[in-house]
């Protein structure tokens, strides 16, 4: 496939406005601004574009939920929080081609009649925030932003809003709370953001990569976009590959390539000639799949059928030496650290699960532990919590227990009896904002 989103990857000065214009940049905007917003929404719907932020919701359909007769202002938010472990594509896009993202934001804002857009970027991405600020300033200067854009009468302001270290702010409603100046705690849904979102107004929130696809759909048409990939899973996708591979990195490939092709052809296979043990197909909250699943297609529907989640397209490769008990402990450490604390199953369940896995790993497992882990993951997932972070920490549990249960059973079979002396208790976690882990 010809590169689309990463076309400028090897170009010198690829971030500058001049080079973007040389690549044909902002011509989609000119085309869009003489179209009817409704026709843009239709075109995006027809392209089959599904959200690249994790949930895979059809973008055009989401835009259609915004009540156009509402007297309130409408907002567009670009989600550049990129915090799901394993994901690093939005950073790459911003480094390579910030104007492509900005063009996507302008067209998308116009399509939903928004006059203000915010880019919410994670606090650690300091350099990336500066890259965006610079590109936005260039765009204002050339009248792609601001009042009366390209003399069409359309006005749009775009602002960068930096987060400050909280994974949960990638969740759409927590993110809105964070822009409003509050703690990032997810809201009860419904109402959905399309109706009651930022500052109580209709809001569309999309991922960086989703918005970067929009100029291409307008420029080359929905049919062209839909011809890439597979039915219901259309378009190019940025795959983030990390872990035990020879060439980790971001690869732009059509949806529906097989994991074998990604791992063996593009990434040069498993590192140090080792054998593949398994892989996490969609960011760390996606249940792990065993090596035997390597021939499944990398797209939303195929991965769901295989019992995992395509998520953000982040592939974490695990070689034969990976200790699955250790892996689960690592991931649970992440998710318990990031719980916002509003729901008991997520706040407490995560900690209990982590304590159990730690105990197993230290050689004090008990036969009933695995059942308890499964019970916790039943209690904390599938709608039992306010936001999907509950599901996110249960994904790793169900995945390893389904495919690598033997490792846990072996650890428990070898377990020592609990010592008479009490085991050291985990240090009480001081609240967010203080140092330490």
């Amino acid at each position: 496939m010809e590169p689309i989103l990463l076309k400028a990857e090897h170009e010198k000065n690829s971030r500058a406005l001049t080079t973007y214009l040389n690549r044909g940049g902002y011509s989609a905007l000119k085309k869009a601004l003489i179209m009817n917003p409704e026709d843009i929404r239709e075109e995006v719907k027809k392209s089959g574009l599904r959200g690249r932020g994790g949930a895979g919701f059809p973008t055009g359909v989401k835009w259609g939920f915004v009540p156009q007769d509402s007297p309130k202002p409408k907002y567009l938010i670009c989600n550049a929080d990129e915090s799901e472990p394993g994901t690093f594509k939005d950073r790459k896009l911003i480094h390579t081609d910030p104007h492509m993202l900005i063009e996507g934001i302008i067209i998308s804002s116009y399509a939903i009649n928004a006059y203000t857009a915010y880019i919410y970027i994670r606090g650690e991405f300091y350099e990336e925030a500066q890259i965006l600020e610079k590109a936005i300033a260039e765009a204002y200067k050339k009248h792609y932003l601001g009042k009366n854009i390209l003399k069409t009468g359309y006005d749009l302001d775009v602002y960068v809003h930096r987060g400050a270290g909280a994974y949960i702010c990638g969740e759409e409603t927590a993110l809105m709370e964070s822009i409003e100046g509050k703690r990032g705690q997810p809201r009860v849904k419904p109402p959905f953001p399309a109706v009651v979102g930022l500052f109580g107004c209709p809001t569309v929130i999309n991922n960086v990569e989703t918005l970067a696809c929009v100029p291409h759909i307008i420029e080359r048409g929905a049919d062209w976009f839909a011809s890439i990939g597979r039915p219901r899973n259309t378009g190019p996708k940025l795959f983030c590959v990390s872990g035990h591979v020879n060439r980790p990195g971001v690869y732009e490939l059509p949806l529906g390539v097989t994991y074998r092709e990604i791992i063996e052809e593009h990434c040069g296979g498993v590192r140090d000639g080792k054998k593949l043990k398994g892989f996490i197909p969609g960011g760390s909250s996606a249940p792990v799949l065993p090596a035997s699943a390597i021939d499944i297609k990398a797209d939303f529907d195929s991965v769901a059928e295989a019992g995992s989640m395509f998520g953000s397209g982040a592939l974490i490769v695990l070689d034969e030496t990976t200790d699955m008990v250790w892996l689960l402990e690592n991931l649970l450490t992440f998710y318990t650290h990031e719980s916002c604390g509003q729901c008991t199953p997520c706040r407490e369940g995560g900690h209990w699960a982590l304590e159990i896995v730690r105990r197993i790993r230290r050689g004090y497992g008990r036969p009933e532990d695995l059942e308890t882990l499964e019970r916790i993951s039943r209690f904390a997932s599938q709608g039992m919590t306010l936001c999907p972070l509950g599901d996110a920490f249960c994904g790793p549990i169900t995945g390893v227990l389904k495919h690598f249960r033997g490792e846990f059973e072996a650890a428990i079979a070898k377990a020592k009896p609990l010592p008479k002396k009490k085991l050291p208790v985990l240090p009480v976690r001081s609240g967010r904002g203080t140092f330490g882990m």
Partner: protein, 175 residues
């Protein structure tokens, strides 16, 4: 691997931050930020960033001044500040060394870096060296997993590190 260019942070001494007033320059910046949002409260995160960049950390005096300026209660401002891990309510070292300890970086050897740093600095996570030069933190995924292991020093990312390259970077940091 990138070449060291990180500049040291300066931490305002606590005496200076007991009671804080914004000067004209800060006022101008705050007014600019307020124009971006329909509510005053929404400027809270950017104003916290602004103050942390100016003074290095956020004392209760700073939080109080922000609360006054944005018509919020100091308790609310503190609640928000401490929710986010990147706002510091105590002074840190000149260099905030943050090692990613999440899965992909661990698969590429992050724990070796952690051990080495703890030994080199003689401190644990969350502590600062006695000379006030380094604060060591273990952090969660930094969003650069393909280039692991990753360490962030102040605002800069350093990637694909080994113990040797990390040592070289630390040695070259300016006074």
């Amino acid at each position: 691997m990138s070449v060291a260019h990180t500049q040291p942070l300066t931490m305002a001494p606590p005496e200076l931050l007991r009671e804080v007033h914004f000067d004209d320059e800060m006022e101008t910046k705050i007014s600019e930020l307020l124009k971006r949002y329909p509510t005053k409260q929404a400027a809270l995160l950017p104003v916290l960033w602004l103050c942390q960049e100016k003074w290095g950390w956020l004392s209760s005096g700073v939080l109080k001044a922000i609360a006054d300026r944005l018509d919020l209660s100091p308790a609310f401002v503190e609640g928000v500040t401490t929710f986010y891990t990147m706002y510091h309510t105590e002074p840190t070292g000149k260099y905030l060394v943050q090692v990613c300890t999440t899965l992909s970086c661990q698969l590429c050897g992050a724990s070796g870096l952690v051990e080495h740093l703890k030994e080199r600095f003689g401190i644990d996570f969350g502590e600062t060296t006695p000379d006030g030069r380094f604060t060591l933190l273990g952090v969660q995924c930094l969003g650069a997993c393909g280039e692991g292991p990753v360490v962030q020093i102040n605002n800069d990312y350093y990637t694909r590190l080994t113990v040797e390259t990390l040592d070289q970077i630390l040695d070259e940091l300016p006074e």
